[in-house]
Each structure stands twice: as C-alpha cells, then as structure tokens.
C-alpha cells in the first residue's frame, strides 16, 4: 500500500527519530512510504488562535501537497485532527483529504488491521497519555493500548491518562502557570513505569519540559518509537538491523466502516 507521510512540523524538528521510526514501522507492515517534500505545518497554531485567514492558507497548501496520495499518515493525533476535522470547517474542498488521512495508530489498527506486533516490549511497563484531539475529536481511545499490548508491553492504568496535559499550543504560553499546573496533575499521579507513551509530540514536549524542569527523570517515548522497538526487538541497535522493509504486504486489511 502506498502511503504519504505528513510528518508535521513538530516531529520534523523535535521528533525526527520517532518520525523515522514511523517510516520503519509502516514499511515493516508492507507500506511503501513517500514524503512529499513541499509539506510544512498543518496550520493548527493559527486555527487555535482564531487566525482563520492564515489557517486557511496553510490548509490550502497542505491540501495541494497531498493531492493524489492514497493515504496520508500523520504521527500526531492533534495534527491529524486538524486535517480530518478542522480543514473541512475552513476549506470546502478539504473533505477528500480528510477522508484519506489517518493518525498513525488508527491506520495500523483500522486500515491495516494489525494489532500483533511481536513481543519486543515484553517486560516494559508503560503508561499512555491520551492526546485530547485523538481521544475526543477522532474518538481514538483503545488504539494505543491495543498496539502497545500487541507489542508485548504491560500498560499500567493511570488515573489521569485521559486528562489534558495543559499544552494547547499558544495556551501554554499565554496561561503558562495554569498550563504547568495541569502538567503537574498528570506527572504527580503517574504510577511507576518505564515509559510514558503518547502519539502526540506536542503533549510530549510539554510534559517532558515540565518533568525536566522538576527533575523527575520520567522517560517519554513517542508511540511510533515504542512500537518500532516492539517490532524490532527492544533497544535501538537491533531496530536498525531489522529496519529493512518486508516484501510481503500485511494481511488483507478490513476496510473500516467509518
């Protein structure tokens, strides 16, 4: 299956290795990955700030860049939401792209129909931070857990897993103290785990930034990296060796009724 990666500006610059792991994972699952070079930012910062004219320009640009792609994979629930839910509010012709765009975990579970990813994460205790947009806009709730358990990890319940981390883009700048207090509520309730895993880089930047400022020593891992480590066997070096794409496509995917 041919898929185009929409890496997102955040992953491009702050989670480059995790984005590369997303590519490895998709190839391993039988996908041919392309990367349209003219892609930039989805425009959500402008949209969330109420700057619609700017958001519309960025949406138009992204729609043009991904024209013709069979499926667009986004390693971020928030940016995927921008394309799938908010673009159609801004730009009439956005529906076609919205229908072909998938958040990474959503794509693996519902389009590829894959939930078993080996047991490379056996013995890993992980907690999941649910990104708000993935959870409440895309209604993706169980997917990260299904995939992480499908890779052998033990998912530890976290009472605040579905609460907002306080990032909210500009919100974390404008209302910095409130935003930091929201992160603290998350961090202070975290059970002992090896990793906190999230499919959203923005949330991870925020939680990690707060955790580092408080010297809590919590390790945050993007979902793509966690899953790729599961597939490749735990640890980075093995991962590199196994990175060659598999020739056969994954089991025939069941089209998801959406």
């Amino acid at each position: 299956m041919n898929v185009a990666l929409f890496v997102t500006c955040l992953a491009d610059h702050y989670f480059a290795d995790s984005a590369a792991d997303a590519v490895r994972l998709l190839r391993h699952l039988g996908c041919t990955v392309t990367f349209p070079d003219a892609q930039t930012c989805c425009g959500q910062p402008a949209y969330n700030a109420g700057r619609n004219p700017e958001a519309v320009r960025m949406a138009r640009h992204t729609i043009e860049v991904f024209e013709g792609a069979d499926a667009v994979i986004v390693p971020s629930g928030s940016c995927a939401t921008m394309v799938k839910k908010f673009y159609p509010r801004l730009v009439g012709e956005a529906t076609a792209l919205a229908d072909r765009t998938w958040e990474l975990g959503e794509f693996i579970v519902h389009r590829l129909g894959v939930t078993a990813l080996g047991d490379g994460l056996a013995g890993r205790r992980v907690a999941i931070h649910q990104g708000c947009h993935a959870l409440r806009e895309l209604r993706l709730e169980s997917e990260p857990e299904v995939l992480l358990e499908g890779a052998g990890a033990e998912v530890v319940p976290w009472e605040a897993d579905d609460e907002c981390c306080g990032f909210g883009g500009l919100f974390s700048v404008k209302m910095s103290a409130v935003s930091a207090a929201m992160a603290d509520r998350k961090l202070d309730t975290l059970p002992p785990v090896d990793w906190v895993v999230s499919g959203d880089g923005g949330c991870v930047l925020h939680l990690k930034g707060r955790s580092r400022a408080r010297r809590l020593g919590i390790e945050f891992v993007h979902l793509a990296t966690a899953l790729w480590r599961g597939v490749a066997g735990d640890g980075g070096t093995t991962a590199r060796k196994l990175a060659a794409p598999l020739a056969q496509p994954a089991a025939a995917p069941a089209a998801r009724d959406r």
Binding site: H13, D17, E54, M58, E163, C164, R185, H206, G209, R212
Partner: protein, 463 residues
C-alpha cells in the same frame, strides 16, 4: 456586577502559586463530581438523552417569544405576578419594590446564580432588608463575604478544616466537628431564619410554558422551605429557562441531576404552581416571577454564541475542565466561570469585558462530552477567539508571529531554511529570546530540537 475578568491570567497564576489548598479542594471535588456524572451517564443512553435535550432547547430558543407569552399567561392564570426585567438594575428595582410593598424586613434565599449576576443582595441590604443565604455553601460564603466559586458547589474551594474553623469562630460549633455536625450548626441558624423570614428568594431551574410552573432542583431542602414558609416568594428566572411542556420537564429534571451530581434526580424537586388560594392553605400569600433578560436577547441574536443559552447551569463542564480544576472559579472574575463562563460571559458582557476568557482553554473538549445539552464549547471558544482577533483584542506580537508562521509555512523553501536555523539555535540560550519560548521556559525545560530534521534523515535514507 463589576467583573475582574480582565485580571484572569494574573489571578489564576496567583491562585496556583500561593493558594495550593484551593487547587487541592477544587481538584478533589470536581474529579469526584465528574466521576459520578460519567457513571450516571453510562446508566442511561446519555447520548440519546443529550441529543433530545439539545433539540428541545433549540426549539424553545427559536420560539422563545411565543413560549414567554404563553408562560406569562399561565403564570398569571395561576395567580402569580409576572415582572419583566430588561437588565440587572430593573431586576433589582423590581425585587426591592416587592419587598417594600410587602413590608419585608428579612429574606431567605435559595442558591441562585442569577441573583449573583444582578447583585441582588447588596441592593436589598441597602434598603435595610436582612438577607440570609440558606444553601449551605452559599451560607459559608456569605459569612466569609466571598462570591461563589462554582455554579453548583459555590464553596467548592473551601476545605473541611476551613469550614470547621469558620463555624467554630462564628457559630460556636466544635472545632473538630464532622460534616454532619457542621451542617447541624448551620441548620440551627437557618431554621430560625426560615420561620421568621417575610420573603423567600430563589432562582428557577425551569419554567414550563404550558402550565406556568417554576421548577427548582436541590438536595438540602432549603429551597423547599424558602418557597413555602415566607409570606412572599420571588423567583428570578432567566428568559432562556423556558421549557414548552410538562413532559419535557420530566426528562430535564433527570438529565440535569445526572449531569450535575450523578443523581437520578435531585433529592427535592419543587414545582411552584402559584400562591395559597384558601385561608389556611400552605404556601406563600404572594408569588412573583421576575423574567430577566440582562443581555440574553443579545446572546440569542449572536450567530454562534446563542448555543450557550441552552445551558442548564449544572456545572458539569466545570467539573470536567482541567483548566478550572487548577484555580476554581474566583480567578475567572465573574459569576459564570469555567468553560461555560468562557463562552457565555463574552455574550452577556461584551467580548472586551470578557477577555481573555476565550483563550483560557487548551481546547481539550472534555466540557463538550460532559454537557447535557451538547453546547459545542470548544467551537464557541474558537468563534470568540476569531472575533477577538478581528477586533484587535490580542497582543500584536502574537498576531505577527502567526502571520509569520503562515508566510513561512506556505513557502516550502523558506520553511526548510527556518527549520534548519531553528535546529541550530534551539538548544542554545538564543531560543529564550523568542517571545513565545521565553515565557514557556520559565516553568519548563526548553525542548531540544533533533540534531538533524526528519527531512535531512529522509534525504540520507532511512533504514
């Protein structure tokens, strides 16, 4: 009412840094309420109920003139005196005049956000009437001289120990009393007041147009006493509180209780159907309903904000809100706080007066899932943000930064160059000089950019 909304950011910051006990009380109580609400929603087909309630409210709001006319007719047929108040000043005058005409010296009150909105208590006290709040939370706050911090649980920001200390000091109760003993101490004062009060003042959860019925939901029994013991009962009702039929009320009573406290229905539901008609009957001699606009018709005329008028004042969105949870309601600077306040206040007061509330949200969406009438709060917040941008109410630096982002993001060559420069500068102190990141870095470690962008990795080949 004078608002302090514009001070939100400073007051929220202050609350978080210097009042940790407020954050602790509010977080604990709202999480408990929210858990009960979730459980109560799962017991029924909440999605179906909420869609039904949304449709009934939308229908009512689009035919509000008809239903108000019908309600007035039925209320008067029931022997209720109906008053119309265009704004807060008129509403206050109406109530003080009723009190004056009825030779009222003392009044007891049920919890009512509308009476807070119109600043009723000071107006009554100014003409020499003694007013006593009888909701336990409101009573606590009246003793302290504080405004409510939550629509449903006005004293949610107070800890048990604070109430113990207050009651020990003011009511002479035991310094280590349990909640029951504290309620008993308050009850002792309040019972006496109910018996002697000339006037009872309440809000109204619903006003049923076809029967002229004012419906009130509560758990403490104080509203039952407020509406039945004094000679005069005045109910102040916002004009958006209409329901067409009694059968609608049956649904809304259950939905409101589930959303507010997770109960199947409130412990007490009072249906006010008019004054006592025969000598010797129970109930007040006079019943007045004051229908208050105070900005609501302006909200109704707004192309988007009108949806906020469906609000039942259940407080579910406050309980679900991780932003509200950090500070409680006082930081918001107005009687309607939390998510609903952030979309309703700009409509009621004007956007300028309500800044920066539309920005006091991470847009996490938990409020929408909790709302029993499906008010699209995140979307309304965005609408207000757009209006704020259009009216130039946001900082110019922020507008310039976002315009810059759009310029760069629609020019891939420039975007790539900016990304590479950012990657080189990002880990250094230079990043702190940027207006956005500097603020961020005060409470968080700055993120470290990847040594090479994904774009560079891709070009070199990912294995």
């Amino acid at each position: 009412m004078r608002t302090r909304i514009n001070e939100y950011t400073a007051r929220a910051t202050q609350a978080i840094r210097s009042e940790p006990e407020v954050r602790e009380s509010v977080t604990g109580a709202t999480l408990a309420f929210d858990r009960k609400r979730r459980d109560a929603y799962t017991e029924v087909d909440a999605d179906e109920w909420r869609r039904w309630a949304e449709a009934v409210k939308n229908h009512t709001l689009t035919h509000l003139d008809d239903y108000l006319t019908q309600a007035e007719e039925r209320l008067e047929a029931n022997g209720v005196q109906v008053h119309w108040a265009a704004d807060a000043a008129e509403a206050r005058d109406i109530v003080t005049t009723i009190a004056d005409d009825g030779l009222v010296a003392t009044a007891v009150k049920g919890k009512s956000m509308l009476t807070e909105e119109i600043d009723l208590n000071p107006a009554l006290e100014a003409v020499g009437i003694e007013v006593l709040e009888t909701d336990l939370g409101e009573y606590i706050l009246q003793l302290l001289g504080e405004p409510p911090s939550h629509i449903l649980g006005p004293a949610i920001h107070k800890s048990l120990q604070q109430v113990r200390d207050l009651f020990a000091d003011r009511l002479g109760s035991a310094p280590d009393g349990d909640p029951d003993a504290l309620a008993e101490a308050a009850r002792h004062v309040l019972r006496d007041a109910f018996i002697h009060a000339d006037m009872g003042i309440t809000g109204g959860n619903f006003l049923v147009a076809e029967t002229g019925t004012v419906a009130l939901i509560e758990n403490e029994g104080n509203i039952r006493l407020t509406t039945s013991l004094p000679r005069v009962h005045v109910a102040l009702v916002g004009i958006e509180k209409l329901l067409p039929r009694m059968t609608d009320l049956a649904g809304f009573l259950q939905l409101t209780a589930r959303a507010a406290t997770g109960q199947p229905i409130g412990c007490f539901v009072s249906l006010i159907q008019g004054p006592a008609t025969q000598p010797g009957d129970d109930g007040p001699e006079e019943v007045h309903v004051v229908l208050v606009d105070n900005g609501r018709t302006d909200v109704l005329a707004h192309p988007h904000a009108w949806e906020a008028l469906r609000c039942l004042r259940c407080g579910a969105c406050l309980n679900a809100c991780p932003v509200y949870r950090q500070t409680g309601g006082h930081a918001y600077g107005y009687v309607y706080s939390g998510p609903i306040g952030s979309v309703l206040d700009p409509g009621l007061l004007g956007l300028h007066e309500a800044m920066p509330l539309p920005f006091a949200s991470s847009l996490c969406g938990a409020c929408f899932d909790a709302c029993p009438v499906r008010i699209p709060i995140p979307e309304l917040l965005l609408e207000w943000r757009r209006e704020a941008q259009d009216q130039g109410l946001t900082p110019w630096k922020e507008r310039a930064a976002l315009a810059g982002l759009a310029s760069v993001a629609t020019r891939p060559g420039l975007y790539k160059l900016a990304g590479r420069i950012g990657a080189r500068l990002g880990g250094t102190g230079a990043a702190r000089a940027l207006p956005m990141l500097g603020e961020w870095a005060r409470e968080r470690a700055l993120p470290k950019p990847s040594r090479r962008t994904f774009r560079e990795l891709w070009r070199e080949g990912i294995e």
